[in-house]
């Protein structure tokens, strides 16, 4: 009996030691390197990073591969590859761009030709967006469904949406699992070689959160490193005054260098929003507030000259058309946002010279470092050596 008790005790001790060590081993194997986002001068300090997807160097590196790899669509035939980068082009501020030969006029469609419901929004400084993604803010932390809350969710949605990759998540996951090099990268980033769509989404979201633009001519002006031309300076004054072009309430300025509040406004494009004119993807259909009929996200004006066509439906092809609209062609409706107080005169009534100056200022928000940053560009080779 004594021997049996001793044996049992020894066996239990061995089990405890073994399990404890196993936990230790796992911890040692999966120790990704934290990725620190440097906050540029004047930028917000609160980041939108979900607790279950902290930024890591390994996650960002993996996300960059996946962002550019057409096999994320679950297909390997060269004709049917589609990745995030098929539409989100770095040279166009990770937007499609109006001169894209694959999408004439900047109007995108899915792999099988189905048009996207609204025109694209650029992937830029999204780590500071706390007010919801997409034109109506549908993807937001306020969404009661936990699969529709952040950039991660836009990834899996993009894989299955008919107007995007039009695939299924099992195919996507299996193809990446069977592509050599990827399982090792997933192990480094997430501690497991078993690939899940959740981890594909997490990695791509991490990469997207690194896409930060903070070195335009205007940023350098803010930091005291460069002067604006007289025309640009006059445009800046117009941009930030109510008696000028009055852009700043929605689009920021010195006090908000994101150049968007990320909020939603009816900016006077139309007069009717119900019946045959109803857009089931406007802000009203998210908030339920009638004042949000015809309201959409104020887009960032950073790199705006590259991200046409403009407005949620792409009705304006050029910046000149947009300036002309705000200057002379606003349309009254009961839902127009009160910040559009120039509606009484149909717009801000800029003179031809003022329009030139305003455009010159807006063009100072172009960030060439962002557009050419090699950290954001397509990797030379994918993990399996493919180009």
């Amino acid at each position: 009996m004594k021997k049996f008790i001793l044996f049992s005790l020894a066996f239990s001790l061995l089990l405890i030691i073994t399990f404890c060590n196993k936990e230790k081993i796992t911890e040692i194997v999966h120790q990704p390197t934290p990725y620190e986002i440097e906050i540029p001068f004047g930028f917000p300090t609160v980041l939108n990073i979900p607790d279950d997807n902290p930024m890591t160097v390994e996650g960002v590196e993996l996300g960059r591969f996946l962002f550019y790899d057409g096999r994320v669509s679950g297909r390997s035939h060269p004709d049917s590859l589609m990745s995030c980068s098929t539409c989100h082009k770095q040279e166009n501020s990770f937007e499609c761009g109006i001169n894209n030969p694959d999408f004439p006029g900047g109007f995108t469609h899915g792999i099988a030709g189905k048009p996207t419901p609204h025109v694209m929004l650029p992937l830029i400084n999204l780590v500071w967006n706390h007010s919801g993604y997409l034109w109506n803010g549908f993807i937001s932390n306020e969404n009661p469904k936990e699969d529709y809350r952040n950039i991660e969710d836009l990834v899996w949605m993009g894989i299955i949406a008919e107007h995007e990759m039009f695939s299924d998540t099992v195919r996507a996951k299996n193809l990446i699992q069977n592509t050599s090099g990827y399982p090792e990268l997933f192990l480094k980033a997430f501690g497991s070689e078993t690939i899940t769509v959740k981890n594909i989404s997490k990695a791509i979201a991490q990469f997207i959160r690194t896409l930060i633009s903070a070195n335009s001519k205007f940023d350098r002006y803010m930091r005291g490193e460069e002067q604006l031309s007289p025309s640009e300076l006059n445009g800046f004054v117009l941009f930030t005054t109510e008696e000028g072009a009055d852009c700043f309430h929605c689009h920021g300025g010195y006090g908000n260098p994101l150049f968007t509040t990320n909020l939603f406004y009816n900016n006077g494009k139309d007069s009717s929003f119900t019946g045959e004119y109803e857009d089931f993807r406007d802000r009203f259909h998210i908030s339920g507030d009638p004042m949000d009929y015809g309201a959409y996200k104020a887009t960032t004006l950073r790199n705006i000259e590259l991200t046409g066509p403009y407005m949620h439906d792409g009705r304006f092809a050029t910046l000149d058309e947009v300036i002309e609209f705000y200057s002379h062609h606003l349309i009254w409706s009961p839902y127009i946002n009160p910040l559009m107080h120039h509606i009484a005169n149909n717009g801000v009534q800029l003179t031809p010279n003022e329009k030139i100056d305003l455009k010159a200022f807006i063009q100072t928000l172009r960030d060439d470092d962002f557009l050419t940053n090699p950290k954001f560009s397509k990797p030379e080779f994918f993990p399996d050596g493919m180009k």
Partner: protein, 265 residues
Amino acid sequence: MKKFFIIICLLIFTFIVGCKKNSESDDVEKFSNLTLKFAYYNEGKLLEFDTIIYENEAGNKYLVNEIQYFISDVILHKSNGENILIDEWKDIHYIDTDILSTQTWKIPDKLTPGNYNSISFTFGISEAKNHSLMFLNPPERDMFWPEYLGGGYHYMKLNGKWLSDENTINPFDFHLGIGQIYHSYPDSITGFIQNYFEVNLPSSSFELIENQTKEIEISMNIENWFRNPNIYDHDVYGGDIMQNQEAMNLACENGHNVFTIKIIN
């Protein structure tokens, strides 16, 4: 052995008594808590947003869509002349009718129980504290006041619409902040005017009771922005006033009579 037991008992007794004494001395510091709530009225009734049911003293029918504003340097005045600046390290408070959490301010300070004569605060932000890039994150960030117009932050955005004398419903942005002196309007600014002002709340005496939380409502009575002592006419001042010091000055003079308090419990 018996002696040893007695010594141990004595030691335990001493320890217990000592501890009790400590906790009793903690109790000597008595305090009360204060919570401020923010509400909006028109002619004594809770404000209804987004519906054009109000008429101001100038005869403008109007509605209110949203109100966003700062109060700062909230001071409790005691009968013995002592003035207590509350929440010293977060002394600027933002209130937004669209953000529920901003409408209640639980003051972290432990306040001394007793009678208080009154409350006062700064409407907006004083010149000494109203610096650009002080708030980097929304929602406060989105109150920034452009550098060209004086910098810092809006004191208030009260956005709405009114039925104009041309019978059209036009938006108004009743925005208050730093005013400008122009050499030739709207260019050539030669100076700035600080429009923030101190609000001394009338009939604002209250008592803080030990270990209890006092809830006080700070009420904004919207109609007074437009009538007392100056009649403010939207048809005269139009949709925007950030570059109209005359209009902002009238509004700020009226602002002294806009706020009242209500003791909730």
